[in-house]
């Protein structure tokens, strides 16, 4: 009877031990994956630090194009302007 109880407890203990071992390894793996994801997030943030440069680059490009177009507008307007009174343009 005692040996039966001992063997049942042994089997139960071994099962509990392996369950605990699995739980510990699962938590460790999850923690490692989360740490890796956090490191990746830091790397992603650093990699996109140049967005500000791009943003100002778009603005600079738009401004340069508008300056160019304003010159073209003046040229177009001068070509289509009616001659000044007195015959001289």
């Amino acid at each position: 009877m005692i040996s039966l109880i001992t063997s049942i407890l042994g089997v139960f203990g071994a099962g509990l031990g392996s369950l605990l071992s699995w739980a510990v390894s699962w938590f460790e793996a999850r923690k490692a994956a989360e740490q890796q994801a956090a490191n990746q997030m830091d790397a992603d943030i650093s990699a996109h630090a140049q967005d500000g440069v791009i943003s100002v680059g778009d603005m600079d490009s738009a401004l340069a194009q508008m300056d160019n177009l304003k010159v073209q507008a003046e040229q177009l307007d001068s070509m289509s302007a009616p001659p000044a009174p007195g015959g001289k343009p």
Binding site: M41, S55, G57, D58, A64
Partner: protein, 241 residues
């Protein structure tokens, strides 16, 4: 004779082999599709959006995954927010509300791009981005943005997102011109590369990343139109998120 031939070709082979090993690999740059989504002034948006000419905008960002770090960046401001979307079972929070008030004279010009970047440290979630441009009284020329299978009438401002290398068009009701090259013959930096296929239709190829094209009507009063194009080289699968 044989020994001298080996003497000539062996060093040559060695040099060629070493040169080949040092050739630079030409890998295309990775530019991800913009797929951050939510609503702008009550209208749904995904990736790109054009906002109204109002100076104040309500922006909502929605995400199925946690957003641990969020940046909002314009030509003028940089703001960061931490843990904006954290989904607890007892406190579900899927969205982030942001009120954007344009800074007069700097952000209300019509060419100040607003960039939204969301980062997650949730395993496999990665990052997501969005771009916004806002109508302005300086850009009022009506146009038609023929972009990525859609055809939409716009007034003065448009954005297009599609894969790099694909062909898109902008159509106007009157004759327009684009900015020409610099006086020294060089191209204007950041200008979209394209050409007019007729007096009112401009055709361009999606760039790698971003480009800007400004148009002006040739007839008086000269009105302007601004277009921002974003070409991506890679998309991210979000199905499981």
């Amino acid at each position: 004779m044989r020994a001298s031939a080996i003497g000539v070709f062996a060093p040559l082979f060695f040099i060629l082999a070493c040169t080949g090993a040092n050739l630079p690999s030409i890998a295309p740059p990775v530019v991800y599709e913009l797929d951050l989504s939510g609503s702008l002034d009550g209208a749904a948006w995904e990736g790109i959006a054009v906002g109204s000419a109002d100076s104040k905008h309500d922006i909502r960002i929605e995400s199925k995954t946690d957003v641990n770090y969020m940046t909002i960046q314009s030509c003028h401001r940089f703001e960061k927010y931490e843990d904006v979307i954290i989904d607890h079972w007892y406190r579900p929070k899927r969205g982030f509300e942001y009120s954007y008030t344009e800074s007069p004279g700097i952000e209300d010009t019509g060419y100040c791009v607003l960039r939204l970047s969301a980062f997650s440290k949730q395993v496999g979630a990665g990052e997501a981005y969005g771009l916004m441009l806002f109508h302005s009284p300086g850009f009022t020329l009506p146009g038609e943005n023929i972009c990525n299978g859609a055809d939409g009438a716009t007034a003065g401002t448009s954005i297009c997102q599609s894969m790099t290398g694909l062909v898109q068009r902008l159509r106007f009701k009157e004759q327009v011109v684009t900015a020409t090259k610099n006086s020294d013959g060089t191209s204007l930096k950041g200008q979209c590369s394209g050409a007019f296929i007729d007096a009112t239709t401009f055709q361009y190829t999606m760039p790698v990343g971003e480009c800007v094209a400004v148009f002006m009507s040739t007839a008086k009063p000269h009105r302007y139109y601004i277009h921002l194009a974003y070409g991506f080289t890679k998309t991210q699968y979000r199905g499981s998120q």
